[in-house]
């Protein structure tokens, strides 16, 4: 009789435990959790777009001097910050003496020779256009070639290489 009661008690305990576990696991499958769904789009593709002047007139200068500083405006109309670097398209011993600086005072006021100079333009704000400028001059004081006669309307192609700042 005693053994029978013990066995019935064990059976009831097992049954209760079973019921509990089943209810827990059943609720795991049907728990009141909502699935939230959203479509997240990545940032817009970067657009690099810079406007540079077609032509820059450096005026007049003597063979052993330098031209006036010419202020050149550039516009960043893309959606990312960019770097602009002017480079000579063809080897030109005169225009190899072209110098650039971003500002007339402060950190970026030192003239740097073409090929070694570049400037950054920050990303445009809500206006969509970030205007910036730099100064350029032709400095023939260190020119070692010979200028035996006037060179009127002497031209050379300078290409502005634009890249996204990375």
């Amino acid at each position: 009789m005693k053994m029978k009661n013990v066995l019935i008690f064990i059976g009831i305990v097992l049954f209760v435990v079973e019921l509990g576990l089943v209810s827990v696991f059943a609720s795991y499958g049907n728990n009141p959790i909502s699935k939230f769904e959203v479509d997240i789009y990545g940032p817009p593709a970067s657009i690099v777009n810079v406007s540079v002047p077609d032509r820059v007139d450096l005026g007049n200068l003597s063979y052993n001097s330098y031209s006036d500083d010419v202020k050149v405006y550039v516009n960043n109309t893309g959606n990312v910050a960019v770097k602009i670097k002017p480079v000579l398209v063809n080897n030109d011993d005169i225009y190899a003496n072209l110098y650039f600086r971003k500002r007339t005072s402060g950190n970026e006021s030192t003239f740097t020779q073409i090929g070694n100079w570049s400037m950054n333009i920050s990303s445009p704000g809500s206006s969509g256009v970030e205007s910036d400028w730099f100064y350029t001059r032709l400095d023939l004081r260190a020119y070692t070639g010979t200028i035996s006669s006037d060179m009127l309307d002497r031209e050379s192609d300078v290409k502005f290489v634009v890249t996204q700042l990375q």
């Binding site: 053994m3 029978k4 066995l7 064990i10 059976g11 097992l14 435990v17 079973e18 576990l21 089943v22 696991f25 795991y28 499958g29 593709a45 970067s46 657009i47 690099v48 777009n49 810079v50 406007s51 540079v52 002047p53 077609d54 032509r55 405006y73 516009n75 109309t77 893309g78 990312v80 960019v82 770097k83 670097k85 480079v87 398209v89 090929g115 570049s118 192609d157 300078v158 290409k159 502005f160 290489v161 634009v162 890249t163 996204q164 700042l165 990375q166």
Partner: protein, 208 residues
């Protein structure tokens, strides 16, 4: 009448001169998107990217240059794709009237990280836009640290990490199945014990 005609002619001439003057100081611009092409590819696999060019009627020449080390200075990219072992496929001359999407494809025969720049140049203009090209070839994943340096991490490392997470993930269906089996066997044992108990009782009754 003649005065009016002359007046109109002068006004027209003035407008033409004004347009020419404005044109003389005009600026040229065109757009390229995106500014950076990042590609993860396997050795021997060819992968392509799309570059949008927006411009008014203009012929563009496209070329690529490469460097052994990543740099923000375009002049350091002075190697050809052949020099670094990259096969690049794209149209080198395109005419753009409005908008055109250019397909550029790259493949390599060696694992590694390749840094290049795709130069898009209008033939008759003084601007050139460079699109950075970063190729991660082989079992490498691109992880950029704060300074922008590419740190290679093997795929095996990443998979090991994810395995360790999987290992500790609880599968409730398996637990439930195991628990049901356990309860079934326990019930079976209980049933046989009850039968045994009844048998003992019957034997005891028989004795008395």
């Amino acid at each position: 009448m003649l005065n009016l005609l002359l007046h109109n002619c002068n006004r027209g001439l003035f407008l033409v001169l004004l347009i020419l003057l404005v044109d003389g100081v005009s600026a040229y611009g065109f757009s390229v998107s995106p500014g950076i092409l990042n590609m993860d590819l396997q050795v021997g696999e060819q992968q392509c990217g799309l570059v949008d060019i927006y411009a008014k009627n203009q012929i563009f020449s496209i070329g690529d240059r490469w460097a052994y080390e990543k740099s923000n200075d375009v002049s350091r990219y002075n190697l050809t794709s052949f020099d670094v072992g990259v096969n690049s496929i794209y149209d080198s001359d395109v005419f753009i009237a409005g908008n055109k999407r250019i397909k550029v494809c790259f493949s390599t025969e060696k694992e590694g990280i390749y840094h290049g720049i795709l130069m898009i140049s209008p033939v008759e203009k003084n601007a050139e836009i460079g699109v950075w090209v970063n190729l991660v070839v082989g079992n490498l994943k691109r992880v950029l640290n704060n300074s922008g340096v590419v740190l290679p991490i093997t795929v095996e490392d990443i998979e090991e990490g994810s395995d360790s997470v999987e290992r500790y993930r609880l599968d409730f269906s398996k637990v439930l199945f195991f628990e049901m089996d356990f309860m079934f066997f326990m019930s079976l044992i209980l049933f046989f014990m009850l039968l045994k108990l009844r048998k003992i009782k019957e034997e005891q009754k028989g004795l008395f």
